[in-house]
């Protein structure tokens, strides 16, 4: 497995982490009303979407590089 393939796995895990943390933070905001958790949650969800865009871009950039 090349660095390209491993990076795709890592980015996929990061996307799941970003959405997971975002939802956790927003649910916590619902319970406690802490503005920092609202901001953190929104930023984390946005980071998840940004990582999806990045994953598509890096796959395009590295399309001629092997997965092995």
């Amino acid at each position: 497995m090349s660095l390209k393939a491993f990076h795709i796995v890592f980015v996929a895990a990061s996307i799941l982490l970003a959405f997971g943390f975002g939802v956790w933070s927003l649910l916590d905001y619902q319970d406690h009303g802490n503005t920092a958790e609202l901001v953190g949650g929104l930023v984390s969800v946005l980071a998840g979407f940004a990582l999806i865009i990045y994953a598509k871009a890096i796959l395009r950039k590295l399309k001629n590089i092997s997965y092995l």
């Binding site: 390209k4 980015v11 982490l17 590295l62």
Partner: protein, 179 residues
């Protein structure tokens, strides 16, 4: 005598020697961290007075910031390797430099986290939670430090190899990235 598959991959596996080596090393790291995480689970379920929530004195935002730094450094590391693949040595220098700097930022944030723990009187001997906390995060910090040392060599004196053996140098950077 020439050692085979140092630069070019072996035909049947598609791998060069160092890539087999780094994956064997990573498999050993999975076992090492797996053992530590298993210990964490066993200590936690077996503990009668585990620390929960705010009692741990953990800073979620510093931890989140460090996670973002690590993800960003992973991106710059891949871009450094991809730059070499695309024959753009100048970009490699910039991306690799950014990776090393991000590693430094991670260590500084980790130092702030540790300092806050020590300030509150939390040491490895204080509680089972802190024993496993410092063991896991300390080992990870050492891992990052090792990566910084290797990447600094690739960025500095080691980069001379780009002129004499560019494919081998690119392979080396990939191995560093996998680490």
């Amino acid at each position: 005598m020439d050692i085979p598959y140092v630069v070019q991959p072996r035909e049947d596996t598609g791998l060069f020697n160092a890539k087999v080596g780094i994956w064997l090393f990573l498999a050993s790291e999975v076992m090492l961290f797996g053992a530590l995480f298993s210990s964490y689970i066993l200590l936690r379920v077996g503990s009668m007075n585990w620390l929960y929530g705010e009692a741990k004195d953990l800073n979620v935002w510093l931890g989140t910031a460090n996670t973002a730094v690590l993800i960003t450094s992973s991106i710059t590391m891949v871009m450094a390797w991809a730059s070499l693949k695309l024959n753009e040595f100048g970009k490699f220098k910039a991306y690799m430099g950014a990776t090393i700097l991000l590693g430094l930022v991670f260590m500084v944030i980790k130092a702030f986290e540790y300092n806050a723990k020590f300030h509150h009187g939390h040491f490895p001997a204080s509680h089972t939670f802190y024993a496993i906390y410092f063991t896991l995060t300390g080992l990870h910090a050492l891992h990052v430090l090792g990566g910084m040392v290797v990447n600094s060599f690739y960025w500095g004196p080691g980069s001379k190899m780009w002129k004499t053996d560019p494919v081998r140098f690119t392979n080396r950077v990939e191995i560093g990235g996998l680490f």
